[in-house]
Protein backbone atom coordinates (compact mmCIF):
# COMPACT_ATOMS: atom_id res chain seq x y z
CA UNK A 1 0.00 0.00 0.00
CA UNK A 2 2.56 2.44 1.18
CA UNK A 3 4.98 1.53 -1.58
CA UNK A 4 2.27 2.17 -4.16
CA UNK A 5 1.53 5.56 -2.65
CA UNK A 6 5.20 6.48 -2.82
CA UNK A 7 5.41 5.33 -6.41
CA UNK A 8 2.38 7.37 -7.40
CA UNK A 9 3.82 10.42 -5.68
CA UNK A 10 7.10 10.00 -7.52
CA UNK A 11 5.33 9.62 -10.83
CA UNK A 12 3.40 12.83 -10.20
CA UNK A 13 6.55 14.69 -9.25
CA UNK A 14 8.27 13.61 -12.45
CA UNK A 15 5.34 14.20 -14.68
CA UNK A 16 5.32 17.91 -15.43
CA UNK A 17 8.78 17.90 -17.04
CA UNK A 18 8.37 14.53 -18.68
CA UNK A 19 5.14 15.49 -20.41
CA UNK A 20 6.99 18.09 -22.44
CA UNK A 21 9.66 15.60 -23.41
CA UNK A 22 7.13 12.97 -24.37
CA UNK A 23 5.17 15.44 -26.49
CA UNK A 24 8.34 16.58 -28.23
CA UNK A 25 9.44 13.02 -29.00
CA UNK A 26 5.99 12.22 -30.40
CA UNK A 27 6.10 15.25 -32.70
CA UNK A 28 9.50 14.24 -34.05
CA UNK A 29 8.46 10.62 -34.50
CA UNK A 30 5.31 11.69 -36.33
CA UNK A 31 7.33 13.88 -38.70
CA UNK A 32 9.85 11.16 -39.47
CA UNK A 33 7.12 8.58 -39.88
CA UNK A 34 5.07 10.80 -42.17
CA UNK A 35 8.09 11.41 -44.35
CA UNK A 36 9.02 7.74 -44.54
CA UNK A 37 5.50 6.67 -45.34
CA UNK A 38 5.15 9.43 -47.91
CA UNK A 39 8.45 8.59 -49.62
CA UNK A 40 8.05 4.80 -49.51
CA UNK A 41 4.38 4.39 -50.40
CA UNK A 42 3.92 7.48 -52.48
CA UNK A 43 0.91 8.38 -50.35
CA UNK A 44 -0.42 11.79 -51.26
CA UNK A 45 0.83 11.49 -54.83
CA UNK A 46 4.06 12.45 -56.59
CA UNK A 47 5.51 15.79 -55.56
CA UNK A 48 5.93 17.00 -59.14
CA UNK A 49 2.54 15.85 -60.48
CA UNK A 50 0.12 18.54 -61.46
CA UNK A 51 -3.16 17.52 -59.88
CA UNK A 52 -5.49 20.39 -60.35
CA UNK A 53 -5.96 24.13 -60.88
CA UNK A 54 -3.41 26.56 -59.51
CA UNK A 55 -3.49 27.98 -55.98
CA UNK A 56 -6.50 25.99 -54.81
CA UNK A 57 -7.34 25.96 -51.10
CA UNK A 58 -7.23 22.56 -49.34
CA UNK A 59 -9.75 20.18 -50.91
CA UNK A 60 -10.44 16.54 -51.60
CA UNK A 61 -7.87 16.01 -54.37
CA UNK A 62 -5.25 18.12 -52.66
CA UNK A 63 -5.41 17.86 -48.87
CA UNK A 64 -3.22 20.90 -48.20
CA UNK A 65 -4.11 22.87 -51.31
CA UNK A 66 -2.18 23.40 -54.54
CA UNK A 67 0.69 25.69 -55.42
CA UNK A 68 1.26 28.12 -58.27
CA UNK A 69 1.80 25.27 -60.76
CA UNK A 70 -1.18 23.23 -59.58
CA UNK A 71 0.96 20.73 -57.69
CA UNK A 72 -0.46 19.28 -54.50
CA UNK A 73 1.29 20.71 -51.42
CA UNK A 74 1.08 17.54 -49.31
CA UNK A 75 3.65 15.42 -51.17
CA UNK A 76 5.92 18.42 -51.60
CA UNK A 77 5.69 19.10 -47.88
CA UNK A 78 6.55 15.48 -47.07
CA UNK A 79 9.47 15.69 -49.46
CA UNK A 80 10.53 18.99 -47.88
CA UNK A 81 10.44 17.63 -44.35
CA UNK A 82 12.52 14.68 -45.50
CA UNK A 83 15.12 16.85 -47.20
CA UNK A 84 15.39 19.27 -44.30
CA UNK A 85 15.63 16.60 -41.61
CA UNK A 86 18.01 14.41 -43.59
CA UNK A 87 20.28 17.31 -44.51
CA UNK A 88 20.39 18.69 -40.98
CA UNK A 89 20.89 15.30 -39.37
CA UNK A 90 23.67 14.42 -41.76
CA UNK A 91 25.38 17.76 -41.18
CA UNK A 92 25.04 17.52 -37.41
CA UNK A 93 26.43 13.98 -37.50
CA UNK A 94 29.51 15.41 -39.24
CA UNK A 95 29.65 18.20 -36.69
CA UNK A 96 29.37 15.74 -33.82
CA UNK A 97 32.25 13.63 -35.12
CA UNK A 98 34.50 16.61 -35.82
CA UNK A 99 33.66 18.47 -32.62
CA UNK A 100 33.94 15.45 -30.38
CA UNK A 101 37.32 14.53 -31.80
CA UNK A 102 38.66 18.09 -31.59
CA UNK A 103 37.04 18.77 -28.22
CA UNK A 104 38.37 15.61 -26.60
CA UNK A 105 41.86 16.21 -27.94
CA UNK A 106 41.79 19.85 -26.86
CA UNK A 107 40.44 18.98 -23.43
CA UNK A 108 42.91 16.18 -22.82
CA UNK A 109 46.03 17.71 -24.29
CA UNK A 110 45.40 21.27 -23.15
CA UNK A 111 48.21 23.75 -23.83
CA UNK A 112 49.08 24.72 -27.37
CA UNK A 113 46.88 22.12 -29.03
CA UNK A 114 43.82 23.34 -27.18
CA UNK A 115 44.76 26.95 -27.84
CA UNK A 116 45.07 26.32 -31.59
CA UNK A 117 41.77 24.44 -31.82
CA UNK A 118 39.91 27.05 -29.80
CA UNK A 119 41.35 29.97 -31.80
CA UNK A 120 40.29 28.42 -35.09
CA UNK A 121 36.86 27.91 -33.56
CA UNK A 122 36.83 31.56 -32.48
CA UNK A 123 37.50 32.68 -36.03
CA UNK A 124 34.54 30.72 -37.38
CA UNK A 125 32.39 31.76 -34.43
CA UNK A 126 33.00 35.43 -35.23
CA UNK A 127 30.69 35.40 -38.23
CA UNK A 128 26.94 35.74 -37.82
CA UNK A 129 25.56 32.31 -38.72
CA UNK A 130 23.67 33.40 -41.81
CA UNK A 131 26.58 35.51 -43.08
CA UNK A 132 28.95 32.54 -42.76
CA UNK A 133 26.40 30.35 -44.51
CA UNK A 134 26.05 32.84 -47.34
CA UNK A 135 29.83 33.07 -47.67
CA UNK A 136 29.99 29.29 -48.02
CA UNK A 137 27.26 29.50 -50.64
CA UNK A 138 29.27 32.09 -52.56
CA UNK A 139 32.31 29.82 -52.71
CA UNK A 140 30.59 26.51 -53.37
CA UNK A 141 27.58 27.74 -55.31
CA UNK A 142 23.99 27.12 -54.21
CA UNK A 143 22.80 23.59 -53.49
CA UNK A 144 22.63 20.76 -50.99
CA UNK A 145 26.39 20.53 -50.47
CA UNK A 146 26.46 24.20 -49.57
CA UNK A 147 23.69 23.79 -47.03
CA UNK A 148 25.49 20.82 -45.54
CA UNK A 149 28.86 22.56 -45.34
CA UNK A 150 27.27 25.73 -43.97
CA UNK A 151 25.50 23.88 -41.16
CA UNK A 152 28.73 22.09 -40.22
CA UNK A 153 30.78 25.30 -40.20
CA UNK A 154 28.14 27.16 -38.19
CA UNK A 155 27.69 24.45 -35.56
CA UNK A 156 31.24 23.13 -35.16
CA UNK A 157 32.78 26.02 -33.15
CA UNK A 158 30.26 26.10 -30.30
CA UNK A 159 30.04 22.33 -29.99
CA UNK A 160 33.81 21.94 -30.02
CA UNK A 161 34.10 24.50 -27.27
CA UNK A 162 31.47 22.84 -25.10
CA UNK A 163 32.90 19.35 -25.57
CA UNK A 164 36.37 20.77 -24.89
CA UNK A 165 35.24 22.26 -21.59
CA UNK A 166 33.58 19.00 -20.56
CA UNK A 167 36.60 16.94 -21.64
CA UNK A 168 38.89 19.22 -19.69
CA UNK A 169 36.86 18.69 -16.54
CA UNK A 170 37.04 14.92 -17.05
CA UNK A 171 40.75 15.02 -17.83
CA UNK A 172 41.39 16.55 -14.41
CA UNK A 173 39.65 13.78 -12.50
CA UNK A 174 41.64 11.26 -10.51
CA UNK A 175 40.86 8.22 -12.60
CA UNK A 176 42.39 9.84 -15.65
CA UNK A 177 45.52 10.78 -13.71
CA UNK A 178 45.64 7.24 -12.39
CA UNK A 179 45.35 5.81 -15.89
CA UNK A 180 48.08 8.13 -17.13
CA UNK A 181 50.43 7.21 -14.29
CA UNK A 182 49.88 3.53 -14.88
CA UNK A 183 51.07 3.97 -18.43
CA UNK A 184 47.87 3.80 -20.45
CA UNK A 185 48.44 5.39 -23.85
CA UNK A 186 46.89 8.76 -24.64
CA UNK A 187 44.56 7.51 -27.41
CA UNK A 188 43.26 4.77 -25.12
CA UNK A 189 42.62 7.24 -22.31
CA UNK A 190 40.76 9.56 -24.66
CA UNK A 191 38.70 6.74 -26.11
CA UNK A 192 38.00 4.73 -22.97
CA UNK A 193 37.89 7.34 -20.24
CA UNK A 194 37.21 10.79 -21.67
CA UNK A 195 34.84 9.98 -24.52
CA UNK A 196 32.25 8.07 -22.46
CA UNK A 197 32.20 10.86 -19.91
CA UNK A 198 31.55 13.62 -22.43
CA UNK A 199 28.87 11.62 -24.26
CA UNK A 200 26.15 13.52 -22.38
CA UNK A 201 27.51 16.87 -23.49
CA UNK A 202 27.78 15.59 -27.07
CA UNK A 203 24.14 14.48 -26.95
CA UNK A 204 22.93 17.81 -25.54
CA UNK A 205 24.98 19.98 -27.88
CA UNK A 206 24.21 17.75 -30.85
CA UNK A 207 20.51 18.19 -30.24
CA UNK A 208 20.81 21.95 -30.07
CA UNK A 209 23.03 21.88 -33.17
CA UNK A 210 20.27 20.02 -34.98
CA UNK A 211 17.82 22.84 -34.35
CA UNK A 212 20.42 25.39 -35.46
CA UNK A 213 21.03 23.25 -38.53
CA UNK A 214 17.37 23.32 -39.48
CA UNK A 215 17.34 27.09 -39.00
CA UNK A 216 20.42 27.57 -41.17
CA UNK A 217 19.12 25.29 -43.91
CA UNK A 218 15.81 27.13 -43.82
CA UNK A 219 17.45 30.54 -43.93
CA UNK A 220 19.78 29.57 -46.77
CA UNK A 221 17.03 28.00 -48.85
CA UNK A 222 14.85 31.00 -48.12
CA UNK A 223 17.54 33.31 -49.51
CA UNK A 224 17.91 31.03 -52.51
CA UNK A 225 21.36 29.60 -51.72
CA UNK A 226 20.30 26.26 -50.29
CA UNK A 227 18.22 23.46 -51.70
CA UNK A 228 17.22 24.28 -55.29
CA UNK A 229 13.98 23.78 -57.18
CA UNK A 230 12.38 21.42 -58.19
CA UNK A 231 13.58 19.78 -55.00
CA UNK A 232 11.80 20.91 -51.84
CA UNK A 233 12.86 21.81 -48.34
CA UNK A 234 10.94 23.52 -45.57
CA UNK A 235 12.82 26.81 -46.06
CA UNK A 236 12.23 26.71 -49.80
CA UNK A 237 8.52 25.95 -49.39
CA UNK A 238 8.15 28.86 -46.97
CA UNK A 239 9.94 31.16 -49.37
CA UNK A 240 7.71 29.99 -52.24
CA UNK A 241 4.63 30.27 -50.06
CA UNK A 242 5.62 33.81 -49.13
CA UNK A 243 5.31 34.87 -52.76
CA UNK A 244 1.66 33.82 -52.94
CA UNK A 245 0.65 34.26 -49.35
CA UNK A 246 -1.86 37.02 -49.95
CA UNK A 247 -3.99 34.82 -52.21
CA UNK A 248 -2.99 31.38 -50.95
CA UNK A 249 -1.90 31.54 -47.28
CA UNK A 250 -2.08 27.74 -46.91
CA UNK A 251 1.12 27.47 -48.93
CA UNK A 252 3.09 29.14 -46.15
CA UNK A 253 1.09 28.06 -43.12
CA UNK A 254 1.60 24.31 -43.46
CA UNK A 255 5.39 24.29 -43.94
CA UNK A 256 5.70 27.09 -41.34
CA UNK A 257 3.84 25.14 -38.70
CA UNK A 258 5.83 21.99 -39.42
CA UNK A 259 9.14 23.85 -39.27
CA UNK A 260 8.33 25.58 -35.97
CA UNK A 261 7.04 22.35 -34.47
CA UNK A 262 10.17 20.47 -35.51
CA UNK A 263 12.59 23.06 -34.13
CA UNK A 264 10.62 23.43 -30.94
CA UNK A 265 10.42 19.69 -30.38
CA UNK A 266 14.17 19.37 -30.88
CA UNK A 267 14.86 22.23 -28.49
CA UNK A 268 12.65 20.66 -25.84
CA UNK A 269 14.43 17.32 -26.23
CA UNK A 270 17.71 19.22 -25.86
CA UNK A 271 16.46 20.86 -22.65
CA UNK A 272 15.47 17.51 -21.22
CA UNK A 273 18.82 16.00 -22.12
CA UNK A 274 20.55 18.94 -20.53
CA UNK A 275 18.56 18.58 -17.32
CA UNK A 276 19.50 14.95 -17.29
CA UNK A 277 23.18 15.07 -18.20
CA UNK A 278 24.15 18.37 -16.68
CA UNK A 279 22.06 18.43 -13.54
CA UNK A 280 22.42 21.40 -11.31
CA UNK A 281 21.57 22.05 -7.73
CA UNK A 282 18.03 23.30 -8.09
CA UNK A 283 17.05 23.84 -4.49
CA UNK A 284 17.26 27.41 -3.42
CA UNK A 285 16.07 29.25 -0.39
CA UNK A 286 14.67 32.23 -2.23
Amino acid sequence: MKATAVRVRRALAMRSGDGLLRGAVWVLLALVLATLVGQLTGAGGRPDAIVGPRLQPPGSGWLLGTDNLGRSLLPRLLQGIGTTLLLSTLAVACTAVISTALGVVAGYRGGRTAELILRIGDVLYSFPAIVLAVLVAAVLGPGRTTALAAIVLVTVPLMTRMVGVAARAVARREFVTAARISGVSAPTIMLRHILPNVAGTVAVQGTYALSVGILVEGGLSFLGYGVQLPDASLGLLIQEGGLYMVGAPWLIVAPGVVLVAAIMAINLVGDSLRDRFEPRETRSLV
Binding site: V6, R10, A13, M14, R283, S284, L285
Partner: protein, 329 residues
Protein backbone atom coordinates in the same frame (compact mmCIF):
# COMPACT_ATOMS: atom_id res chain seq x y z
CA UNK B 1 18.18 27.97 32.39
CA UNK B 2 16.80 29.90 35.29
CA UNK B 3 13.31 29.17 36.41
CA UNK B 4 10.77 31.77 35.34
CA UNK B 5 12.21 33.15 32.09
CA UNK B 6 11.24 31.01 29.11
CA UNK B 7 14.15 29.46 27.22
CA UNK B 8 15.37 31.32 24.15
CA UNK B 9 15.23 28.31 21.86
CA UNK B 10 12.89 25.36 22.07
CA UNK B 11 13.07 22.61 19.48
CA UNK B 12 10.40 20.10 20.34
CA UNK B 13 10.13 16.67 18.72
CA UNK B 14 10.74 17.90 15.17
CA UNK B 15 10.64 15.63 12.13
CA UNK B 16 12.24 17.03 8.98
CA UNK B 17 12.21 15.34 5.60
CA UNK B 18 14.01 16.22 2.39
CA UNK B 19 11.92 15.23 -0.57
CA UNK B 20 13.17 14.73 -4.08
CA UNK B 21 11.26 13.37 -7.04
CA UNK B 22 12.52 9.89 -6.32
CA UNK B 23 12.88 9.59 -2.58
CA UNK B 24 12.35 10.92 0.89
CA UNK B 25 15.19 11.29 3.35
CA UNK B 26 14.35 11.95 6.97
CA UNK B 27 17.07 14.17 8.39
CA UNK B 28 15.49 14.87 11.77
CA UNK B 29 13.47 12.17 13.46
CA UNK B 30 11.95 13.71 16.54
CA UNK B 31 14.81 15.98 17.58
CA UNK B 32 14.42 18.02 20.76
CA UNK B 33 16.71 20.66 22.20
CA UNK B 34 16.31 23.59 24.54
CA UNK B 35 18.75 26.44 25.05
CA UNK B 36 18.60 29.32 27.50
CA UNK B 37 19.88 32.87 27.04
CA UNK B 38 23.64 33.11 26.98
CA UNK B 39 24.13 29.37 26.96
CA UNK B 40 26.87 27.79 24.88
CA UNK B 41 25.81 24.47 23.41
CA UNK B 42 28.03 22.20 21.36
CA UNK B 43 26.18 19.83 19.05
CA UNK B 44 28.23 16.84 18.02
CA UNK B 45 27.61 13.78 15.88
CA UNK B 46 28.80 12.07 12.73
CA UNK B 47 28.11 13.56 9.32
CA UNK B 48 24.51 12.76 8.47
CA UNK B 49 23.38 12.79 12.07
CA UNK B 50 21.15 15.79 11.41
CA UNK B 51 23.34 18.50 13.00
CA UNK B 52 23.27 20.86 10.04
CA UNK B 53 19.55 20.36 9.50
CA UNK B 54 18.95 21.22 13.15
CA UNK B 55 21.01 24.39 12.76
CA UNK B 56 19.17 25.46 9.60
CA UNK B 57 15.82 24.60 11.15
CA UNK B 58 16.29 27.25 13.84
CA UNK B 59 16.03 29.90 11.13
CA UNK B 60 13.72 27.88 8.84
CA UNK B 61 16.52 27.96 6.30
CA UNK B 62 15.72 24.58 4.82
CA UNK B 63 15.64 24.30 1.03
CA UNK B 64 12.31 24.18 -0.74
CA UNK B 65 11.01 20.64 -0.89
CA UNK B 66 11.72 20.13 2.80
CA UNK B 67 8.78 19.24 5.03
CA UNK B 68 8.40 19.32 8.78
CA UNK B 69 5.37 17.11 9.38
CA UNK B 70 5.78 17.11 13.16
CA UNK B 71 7.13 19.24 15.97
CA UNK B 72 7.65 22.91 16.71
CA UNK B 73 10.48 25.37 16.96
CA UNK B 74 10.25 28.41 19.22
CA UNK B 75 12.73 31.27 19.19
CA UNK B 76 11.96 33.81 21.88
CA UNK B 77 8.44 32.43 22.01
CA UNK B 78 7.80 32.82 18.28
CA UNK B 79 6.93 29.70 16.36
CA UNK B 80 9.49 29.71 13.58
CA UNK B 81 7.72 27.12 11.43
CA UNK B 82 4.48 29.13 11.29
CA UNK B 83 5.71 32.69 10.81
CA UNK B 84 4.73 34.57 7.64
CA UNK B 85 7.71 35.47 5.40
CA UNK B 86 8.11 39.07 6.54
CA UNK B 87 8.03 38.22 10.24
CA UNK B 88 10.41 35.34 9.59
CA UNK B 89 12.84 37.70 7.82
CA UNK B 90 12.62 40.08 10.77
CA UNK B 91 13.30 37.27 13.21
CA UNK B 92 16.38 36.26 11.24
CA UNK B 93 17.51 39.85 11.04
CA UNK B 94 16.98 40.79 14.66
CA UNK B 95 17.54 37.68 16.75
CA UNK B 96 19.49 35.14 14.75
CA UNK B 97 22.92 35.02 13.21
CA UNK B 98 24.64 32.28 11.27
CA UNK B 99 28.34 31.71 10.86
CA UNK B 100 28.87 29.60 7.75
CA UNK B 101 31.06 26.61 7.09
CA UNK B 102 32.64 28.11 3.98
CA UNK B 103 33.38 31.73 4.87
CA UNK B 104 34.54 32.86 1.43
CA UNK B 105 31.58 31.30 -0.34
CA UNK B 106 29.25 33.11 2.04
CA UNK B 107 30.45 36.48 0.77
CA UNK B 108 29.16 37.95 -2.48
CA UNK B 109 32.10 37.46 -4.88
CA UNK B 110 31.32 40.58 -6.87
CA UNK B 111 31.27 43.11 -4.04
CA UNK B 112 34.07 44.58 -1.96
CA UNK B 113 34.05 43.60 1.73
CA UNK B 114 33.21 47.14 2.79
CA UNK B 115 30.23 47.37 0.48
CA UNK B 116 28.88 44.01 1.65
CA UNK B 117 29.17 45.03 5.29
CA UNK B 118 27.41 48.31 4.59
CA UNK B 119 24.61 46.47 2.75
CA UNK B 120 24.23 43.88 5.50
CA UNK B 121 24.30 46.44 8.32
CA UNK B 122 22.37 49.16 6.57
CA UNK B 123 20.01 49.70 9.48
CA UNK B 124 22.64 49.18 12.16
CA UNK B 125 24.84 52.27 12.28
CA UNK B 126 28.34 50.94 12.58
CA UNK B 127 31.91 52.01 12.08
CA UNK B 128 33.06 49.28 9.74
CA UNK B 129 36.74 49.69 10.45
CA UNK B 130 36.10 49.47 14.18
CA UNK B 131 33.97 46.41 13.56
CA UNK B 132 36.83 44.68 11.80
CA UNK B 133 39.27 45.77 14.49
CA UNK B 134 37.03 44.09 16.99
CA UNK B 135 37.69 40.77 15.24
CA UNK B 136 41.44 41.46 15.29
CA UNK B 137 41.84 42.39 11.65
CA UNK B 138 44.91 44.51 11.20
CA UNK B 139 44.65 47.28 8.64
CA UNK B 140 40.84 47.14 8.38
CA UNK B 141 40.70 50.03 5.92
CA UNK B 142 42.66 47.96 3.43
CA UNK B 143 40.55 44.83 3.96
CA UNK B 144 37.35 46.80 3.40
CA UNK B 145 38.54 47.56 -0.12
CA UNK B 146 39.30 43.94 -1.01
CA UNK B 147 37.13 41.39 -2.79
CA UNK B 148 36.32 38.07 -1.08
CA UNK B 149 38.64 36.05 -3.31
CA UNK B 150 41.53 38.25 -2.26
CA UNK B 151 41.37 37.38 1.45
CA UNK B 152 42.22 34.19 3.32
CA UNK B 153 39.66 31.83 4.78
CA UNK B 154 40.57 32.89 8.30
CA UNK B 155 40.16 36.55 7.42
CA UNK B 156 36.81 35.82 5.72
CA UNK B 157 35.60 33.95 8.77
CA UNK B 158 36.52 36.91 10.97
CA UNK B 159 34.56 39.15 8.64
CA UNK B 160 31.64 36.71 8.92
CA UNK B 161 31.88 36.75 12.71
CA UNK B 162 31.98 40.55 12.70
CA UNK B 163 28.95 40.66 10.39
CA UNK B 164 27.08 38.19 12.58
CA UNK B 165 27.86 39.88 15.89
CA UNK B 166 27.36 43.48 14.72
CA UNK B 167 23.63 43.20 15.32
CA UNK B 168 24.05 41.62 18.74
CA UNK B 169 21.94 38.56 17.95
CA UNK B 170 20.19 36.58 20.65
CA UNK B 171 21.15 33.28 19.07
CA UNK B 172 24.23 32.47 17.02
CA UNK B 173 24.35 29.25 15.02
CA UNK B 174 27.81 28.25 13.86
CA UNK B 175 27.88 25.23 11.54
CA UNK B 176 31.46 23.94 11.72
CA UNK B 177 32.77 27.46 11.26
CA UNK B 178 36.36 26.30 11.40
CA UNK B 179 36.22 23.23 9.16
CA UNK B 180 37.90 25.06 6.29
CA UNK B 181 40.59 26.74 8.40
CA UNK B 182 44.00 25.55 9.55
CA UNK B 183 44.46 24.77 13.21
CA UNK B 184 46.10 27.98 14.41
CA UNK B 185 43.52 30.23 12.81
CA UNK B 186 40.81 27.85 14.03
CA UNK B 187 41.64 28.53 17.68
CA UNK B 188 41.73 32.27 17.12
CA UNK B 189 38.35 32.38 15.36
CA UNK B 190 36.74 30.27 18.10
CA UNK B 191 38.10 32.52 20.81
CA UNK B 192 36.74 35.58 19.02
CA UNK B 193 33.37 34.00 18.47
CA UNK B 194 32.84 32.86 22.04
CA UNK B 195 34.31 36.02 23.60
CA UNK B 196 32.05 38.28 21.56
CA UNK B 197 29.07 36.05 22.30
CA UNK B 198 29.77 36.20 26.02
CA UNK B 199 30.07 40.00 25.90
CA UNK B 200 26.71 40.31 24.17
CA UNK B 201 24.89 37.58 26.10
CA UNK B 202 24.38 35.67 22.86
CA UNK B 203 23.39 32.02 22.96
CA UNK B 204 25.68 29.90 20.80
CA UNK B 205 24.84 26.65 19.04
CA UNK B 206 28.12 25.27 17.75
CA UNK B 207 27.72 22.34 15.39
CA UNK B 208 31.03 20.60 15.53
CA UNK B 209 33.17 17.52 15.00
CA UNK B 210 35.72 18.83 17.44
CA UNK B 211 35.05 17.28 20.85
CA UNK B 212 38.09 18.95 22.38
CA UNK B 213 36.95 22.35 21.19
CA UNK B 214 33.46 21.78 22.51
CA UNK B 215 34.92 20.74 25.87
CA UNK B 216 36.88 23.98 25.98
CA UNK B 217 34.21 26.45 24.84
CA UNK B 218 30.76 25.01 25.55
CA UNK B 219 29.01 24.58 28.84
CA UNK B 220 26.59 22.09 27.39
CA UNK B 221 26.84 19.35 24.84
CA UNK B 222 24.14 17.65 22.79
CA UNK B 223 25.01 14.45 20.97
CA UNK B 224 23.03 13.68 17.83
CA UNK B 225 22.49 10.36 16.12
CA UNK B 226 19.99 9.34 13.46
CA UNK B 227 18.22 12.70 13.51
CA UNK B 228 17.70 12.82 17.27
CA UNK B 229 19.51 14.33 20.21
CA UNK B 230 20.46 11.14 22.05
CA UNK B 231 22.30 12.66 24.99
CA UNK B 232 22.18 16.19 26.33
CA UNK B 233 23.91 17.46 29.46
CA UNK B 234 26.73 19.58 30.84
CA UNK B 235 29.92 19.13 28.87
CA UNK B 236 32.01 18.02 31.82
CA UNK B 237 29.58 15.31 32.86
CA UNK B 238 28.82 13.99 29.40
CA UNK B 239 32.46 13.78 28.41
CA UNK B 240 33.64 12.21 31.64
CA UNK B 241 30.81 9.75 32.06
CA UNK B 242 28.80 9.25 28.90
CA UNK B 243 25.47 7.55 29.40
CA UNK B 244 24.45 6.79 25.82
CA UNK B 245 26.54 4.06 24.20
CA UNK B 246 26.88 6.18 21.07
CA UNK B 247 28.44 9.03 23.07
CA UNK B 248 30.85 6.56 24.54
CA UNK B 249 31.77 5.22 21.14
CA UNK B 250 32.19 8.74 19.78
CA UNK B 251 34.56 9.64 22.60
CA UNK B 252 36.55 6.48 22.10
CA UNK B 253 36.89 7.30 18.42
CA UNK B 254 38.23 10.83 19.03
CA UNK B 255 41.95 10.83 18.29
CA UNK B 256 42.49 13.95 20.36
CA UNK B 257 41.34 12.14 23.50
CA UNK B 258 43.19 8.90 22.95
CA UNK B 259 45.68 8.19 25.68
CA UNK B 260 49.15 7.30 24.53
CA UNK B 261 49.55 3.61 23.93
CA UNK B 262 45.84 2.73 23.79
CA UNK B 263 44.15 1.64 20.64
CA UNK B 264 41.87 4.07 18.87
CA UNK B 265 38.43 2.59 18.48
CA UNK B 266 36.19 3.22 15.54
CA UNK B 267 32.48 2.74 15.42
CA UNK B 268 31.62 -0.20 13.22
CA UNK B 269 28.84 0.08 10.65
CA UNK B 270 27.44 3.24 9.10
CA UNK B 271 24.95 5.82 10.32
CA UNK B 272 21.37 5.17 9.24
CA UNK B 273 19.58 6.90 6.38
CA UNK B 274 15.95 7.09 7.41
CA UNK B 275 12.98 7.46 5.14
CA UNK B 276 10.09 7.03 7.55
CA UNK B 277 9.30 6.08 11.14
CA UNK B 278 11.97 3.61 12.22
CA UNK B 279 11.20 0.83 14.62
CA UNK B 280 13.18 0.81 17.82
CA UNK B 281 16.50 2.47 18.44
CA UNK B 282 18.34 3.33 15.23
CA UNK B 283 21.71 2.85 16.94
CA UNK B 284 20.87 -0.73 17.96
CA UNK B 285 22.60 -2.41 14.96
CA UNK B 286 25.88 -0.73 15.89
CA UNK B 287 25.44 -0.89 19.65
CA UNK B 288 27.26 -3.29 21.94
CA UNK B 289 24.95 -2.91 24.89
CA UNK B 290 21.80 -3.45 22.82
CA UNK B 291 19.22 -5.69 24.38
CA UNK B 292 16.21 -7.44 22.93
CA UNK B 293 13.97 -4.40 23.36
CA UNK B 294 16.32 -2.08 21.45
CA UNK B 295 15.42 -3.00 17.84
CA UNK B 296 11.74 -3.18 18.75
CA UNK B 297 10.89 -0.26 21.01
CA UNK B 298 11.71 3.32 20.20
CA UNK B 299 13.52 4.87 23.18
CA UNK B 300 11.81 7.81 24.87
CA UNK B 301 13.71 10.62 26.58
CA UNK B 302 14.64 9.82 30.16
CA UNK B 303 16.67 11.61 32.74
CA UNK B 304 19.80 9.78 33.80
CA UNK B 305 22.50 11.28 36.00
CA UNK B 306 21.17 14.81 35.54
CA UNK B 307 20.89 14.75 31.76
CA UNK B 308 18.50 13.63 29.03
CA UNK B 309 19.31 10.35 27.35
CA UNK B 310 17.52 8.37 24.63
CA UNK B 311 18.56 4.85 25.48
CA UNK B 312 17.05 1.72 27.01
CA UNK B 313 20.30 0.69 28.63
CA UNK B 314 22.21 3.83 29.55
CA UNK B 315 25.56 3.72 31.27
CA UNK B 316 27.52 1.35 29.05
CA UNK B 317 31.03 2.78 29.00
CA UNK B 318 33.28 2.51 25.95
CA UNK B 319 36.09 0.96 28.02
CA UNK B 320 33.97 -2.15 28.34
CA UNK B 321 33.29 -2.35 24.64
CA UNK B 322 34.67 -5.66 23.37
CA UNK B 323 37.46 -5.51 20.82
CA UNK B 324 35.33 -6.86 17.99
CA UNK B 325 34.23 -3.30 17.22
CA UNK B 326 37.76 -2.33 16.36
CA UNK B 327 38.34 -1.32 12.84
CA UNK B 328 39.86 -3.95 10.65
CA UNK B 329 41.81 -1.32 8.81
Amino acid sequence: MTVGTPPLLVIDDVVTEYRTATRVVRALDGASLTAGRGETVGIVGESGSGKSTLGLLTGRLLPSGTRCPRGRVLVDGESVLDLPPDRLARLRRERLAFVPQDPIGALDPTLRIGRQLRLALRDTPADLAALLEQVRIRDPEHVLRLYPHQISGGMAQRVAVAMAMARKPALLIADEPTAALDSQVREEVLRLLFTLAAENGTTVLWLSHDLGGVARWCARIAVMYGGRVVEDGTTAEVLSAPQHPYTGALLAADPARAKGGTRLLTIGGTPPVLSDDPQGCVFAPRCDSAGEDCPAVRPAPRTVAGRTVLCHHPGGTPETVPARKESAR
